[in-house]
């Protein structure tokens, strides 16, 4: 059962680096994005790359993945291994992330008209995290007698 949480932690760490990469590009710390189509730059430089015009979407990703990573690592500690609340919290957080990712994908397809491969990668990672979190939650639910 801890394997699913290990998987979640590894995926969160990978997602964290993807988001950090996009954020570092946005603040000018990295010159150009490795993106075959050029769509990544179009997406990252669009007005929609700032959520509500206030915060960088990539920074939201960095924070979100970091929080889920910490939670996944915490849930692997022996004293929390048998508890179901970390699994419930991971399902809630990852479902929120899936909804947010769906909204961002909609913006890419129908508003910005460009696809960023790194964003697609992040979407796949978050879907996998959600799937593993749901599996983990189900495994830790009390079984009917």
């Amino acid at each position: 059962m801890t394997r699913s949480r290990m998987g979640i932690a590894l995926l969160c760490l990978t997602g964290l680096f993807v988001s950090l990469y996009l954020y570092l590009y946005k603040i000018g710390a990295i010159g150009a994005l490795a993106c075959g189509t050029g769509g990544c730059e179009t997406v990252q430089l669009s007005p929609q790359s700032r959520f509500l015009g206030v915060i960088e979407v990539s920074l939201i990703g960095v924070i979100g993945y970091a929080v889920m990573l910490l939670l996944a690592l915490l849930s692997l500690q022996p004293r929390f291994a048998g508890r179901s609340w970390p699994a419930t919290l991971l399902v809630l957080l990852s479902s929120g992330a899936v909804l947010f990712t769906a909204y961002l994908t909609y913006l890419e397809l129908f508003v910005i008209h460009a696809i960023c491969r790194w964003c697609v990668g992040s979407a796949l990672i978050i879907l996998a995290i959600f799937g593993l979190a749901c599996y983990d939650r189900r495994e830790r639910s009390p079984q009917p007698a």
Partner: protein
């Protein structure tokens, strides 16, 4: 119990490995010389063009305005800018007859055009457009065959007296991509087919021209604009 502990140790080892690879890759990318890419398919925002008609040279009261649509990587534009334009500047602009309006028309066939146009926009931000514009055309043969010309552009900007840190931040932000796209769209809408193309006295000329031809067209436009003599 011991087996579980071994499993956890393996997991932490893998997690640590991923962390080291990730941090290493990011540090490597941050330390790499920045190759700049200016996006093509940007959505032009109102703020991109607000108060900006192009790079203007000459008197505000000049009776004729000449708009030049040009591409920094186009050899014909380089010929025009380095051979013909100094005469045009001396005879028509500095005498107050013409106001020159330079507009970017970066053709897709030239991989560095858009970056060069953005470099000029970033230099313009610090009041050094003309110096950068001249350096880009003067050195076109050097940077044009390069795989990544951003470093050369940065050197020209610094030689022109631009603050390097501000210039680098401007280039990384690609903040003028929308303005360049708007300029490109304007040229296409007018019917420009190549570079350099000119609009003189409201007419489009789809070819490069020697300074004498420009002078003749401007003189005709000035005559047409002049009030008829009193009888």
């Amino acid at each position: 119990m011991a087996q579980a502990q071994t499993g956890m140790n393996k997991f932490y080892l893998v997690l640590g490995g991923v962390a080291v690879i990730g941090v290493g890759a990011l540090l490597y990318l941050m330390g790499k010389p920045k190759s700049v890419s200016i996006p093509v398919d940007v959505t032009v925002q109102t703020a991109d063009t607000a108060g900006f008609r192009g790079y203007l040279l000459g008197s505000d009261t000049a009776k004729v305005e000449v708009t030049e649509y040009a591409d920094y990587q186009c050899p014909v534009c380089q010929d025009f800018e380095t051979i013909q334009f100094p005469t045009v500047r001396q005879q028509l602009i500095e005498t107050g007859l013409v106001r020159w309006r330079y507009r970017d028309f970066p053709l897709d066939m030239h991989p560095h055009s858009r970056v060069a146009a953005h470099a000029a926009a970033c230099a313009d931000e610090q009041g050094k457009f003309r110096e950068m514009h001249d350096a880009l055309y003067r050195n076109q043969a050097q940077w044009s065959p390069m795989r990544n010309a951003a470093g050369a552009f940065s050197d020209y900007a610094k030689a022109a007296g631009v603050d390097g840190a501000k210039y680098d931040a401007c280039m990384s932000s690609a903040k003028y991509a929308g303005r360049i796209k708007a300029s490109f769209d304007e040229a296409v809408k007018l019917g420009a087919k190549g570079t350099p193309n000119f609009v003189i006295g409201g007419r489009l000329y789809q070819t490069t021209m020697p300074s004498d031809s420009i002078r003749a067209i401007v003189m005709r436009a000035l005559t047409a604009a002049a009030p008829a003599p009193a009888q």
